[in-house]
Amino acid sequence: MLKDLSCPKCGAPVTLESERQRIVICSFCGATSSVDLRNEAEPELKLERTTPVAGTSLWADAWKRLLKNKLAVAGMVVLAVMVVLVIVGPMIVYQLTGLTAASQPSDGSLLKSFPPSLKHLMGTDELGRDLLARVLQGGRISLAVGFISTVVSLLVGVSYGAIAGYLGGKVDNVMMRIVDIIYAIPYILVVIVLLSVFGGPNTKVLIAALPPILIGLIVGVIGVLVAVSFYRRLFGEAKALSMVDSVKRFGFGLLESVIVIALVVIAGFVIAGTGLGETIAEKYGDVVSLGLNQILLLFFSLGLVSWLTMARVVRGQVLSLKNQDFIMAAKATGVSTFGIIFRHLVPNTLGPVIVYATLTVPSVMLAEAFLSYLGLGVQAPYASWGSLAADGVKNIAIFPWQLIFPGVTMAITLFSLNFLGDGLRDALDPQTRKF
């Protein structure tokens, strides 16, 4: 019955591979047609209406692959639910029960730790505070630490690594040695030093010192840029030709440096003289020393270390990308160095960067939990999952729910983040996927 058929669109002969085949694709024009078997003796080909294939960008393609990964989708859903819960949860709990993370019962009974009940879904902690409210409240800080550090690592790490990798040579060497040095400092030590220097009563001093330092830095950066452009305008980029010329240049450079340093110092003192910092410190110092400063210092110190690996990852990517033809082509069309780094190179590194960022969040959250567990991180009345677990461990034998609930919540979140990260890696880099 396999008789000769021809493509209804272009007339080219097509053959059926088997009797059961229902769809044929013409090898000449690519049209798809279906086999019409109503007349058994004389099957006919009917042209299927085909829509032209729309081009897919890499992102759409990756998204499609990600959706096929069940674990990653589950992780994404759990994470989204967790974020929503953490944001609106404490308010809902307050509306329903009138309890906040800090509210303690006023009765004088000695035993304040109650097991889960209808009133306290997760039970209470040793001071009688509602554990559900505290877990949700703690989730805010834990997730915020994770996301803020990741944003820092994205902003700082990506640009730092891309600049070092693209410029190469001495600049690269110096920049990456700085990374190595910061890497070598144990971050726990950094946190301890920061907390003991700026924690407690010293916080006000720190806040008062911030405005002059910030203004000084800004003046310094602007000063250096202006000085460099002046130098360029005077001498150009050509090499010094004579001894006199190089001495002149050195002198001018020295003069410029002195002027810039003087400007920075003057600006710093002027701002310090206005007492702006002290006013701010007076106003907000008390609030901050309540324990918020610990959280801020935690953010700061985790942000300080979280961008290092990202910088290395991006630098490695850029090193392999910068010798490709399309970068040469961009140079040949006159694109500036800035444009090449941020318009042409950075988008090409985004795949590994996104994957690495999703895997940074859980590691930073773990670090925060670890520090809080040691008593270095979040302090009461604020809570994080780490500090809640630390409190719970003390009573694990008699009040196990005090460890189980914060611990399980955190574990679920970390699981989801890791699954999502793995899924993203497979989706964005299909070559590494195992089949």
Binding site: A238, D325, F326, K331, T333
Partner: protein, 351 residues
């Protein structure tokens, strides 16, 4: 200084510092290009063709590369002495470049529109809308069907030939005065090759752009160029108007190259000609002629003394001890069968 010359390169030396010592990738080459003219640069791999043109664009990676000596005068401007900011204003706007491999010379992460728009926004100060319209216009000009919808596609959605068309559209966006095509057809198959060459030829005629065509395919330059520079080991071996070079080469190397072109009328069973040996290591060149070891008429003087640059006539130069002899020999005994055939028929297009 500027009498109709768009580009004049004088005694250019570009060296690379490597672990093996100094590689003289380009060693003292000179050529000139009139406005509206097409120059072919021919040579084997590693003969310094690409480095010459990267030097013109000041795109030599520094270090390890360096333009040691020489003048590159583009339209009265000494490119070598310009600061980088000024060079950037020339790149892409007044001198544009097409690269060898269209598969890798478009950024895979950016839409075609983004890449085309970037050029005109940068150099012509176009607004987003203007640049977008200009991008579509350029795509139409290079013959991309359905340009309005293709403009927002990604490079991977184009075939090799189409990508090379996009590259040409990008290069010609700002109406450059000089177009450098670095082996524009090497990575493409023969039918596409012909289309791309035809396109460049057509656009040159319409826009009056001067073109430098780098290639190792003599068939490509034959129909396209006004004059040809033959390079070997970083030096110009011969320089002549296209027709003259094909009919009466004055250098044994050029003769060898012409003889190596497969001829459709090639007799079955006879071996194809090839120049014996390999190009020399440019880091350790012998004192004499760098081609001496492979040359069919090398004598003792070739191995001991560097050959002179002999002027055959006003436009024809050759780097050889026996340039005149080879020239006379070529008159009697043309290097290619095609030229031979033409000779017997009394001239014609030497191809």
């Amino acid at each position: 200084m500027n009498n109709g010359k768009i580009l004049s390169v004088k005694d250019l030396q570009t060296y690379f510092q490597t672990e093996d010592g100094v590689v003289k990738a380009v060693d003292g080459i000179s050529f000139e290009l009139e406005k509206g003219e097409t120059l072919g640069i021919v040579g084997e791999s590693g003969s310094g063709k690409s480095v010459t043109n990267l030097s013109v664009m000041r795109l030599i990676p520094e270090p390890p590369g360096k333009i040691v000596n020489g003048d590159i005068i583009f339209d009265g401007i000494d490119v070598c002495k310009l600061p980088l900011d000024e060079i950037r204003k020339i790149r892409g706007k007044r001198i544009a470049m097409i690269f060898q491999d269209p598969m890798t010379s478009l950024n895979p992460f950016l839409k075609i529109s983004t890449q085309l728009m970037e050029v005109t926004q940068l150099h012509l100060g176009h607004s987003k809308k203007q640049a977008y319209e200009h991008a579509i216009k350029m795509l139409k000009m290079v013959g991309i069907p359905d340009a309005e919808s293709r403009v927002s596609d990604y490079p991977h959605e184009f075939s090799g030939g189409m990508r090379q068309r996009v590259m040409i559209a990008m290069a010609l966006s700002c109406d450059p005065e000089l177009l450098i095509a670095d082996e524009p057809t090497t990575a493409l198959d023969v039918t596409i090759q012909a289309q791309i060459l035809e396109l460049i030829k057509d656009l040159r005629a319409r826009l009056g752009t001067s073109v430098i065509l780098i290639t190792h395919d003599l068939g490509v330059v034959a129909g396209m160029t006004d004059k040809i520079v033959v390079m070997y080991a970083g030096k110009v071996f011969e320089q002549a108007p296209t027709r003259e070079l094909f009919s009466t080469p004055a250098n044994p190397y050029t003769r060898g190259l012409l003889k190596s072109v497969p001829d459709p009328a090639h007799e079955e069973g006879t071996e194809l000609y090839q120049i014996p040996g390999l190009p020399p290591d440019v880091a350790h060149l012998p004192p004499g002629c760098p081609f001496a070891e492979r040359c069919y008429r090398a004598e003792d003087i070739c191995r001991s003394e560097f050959p002179p640059f002999v002027q055959i006539n006003e436009n024809h130069h050759s780097l050889c001890h026996f340039a005149r002899e080879v020239y006379e020999d070529s008159k009697v005994n043309p290097p290619t069968t095609a030229a031979k055939r033409n000779r017997t028929e009394g001239g014609g297009e030497p191809q």
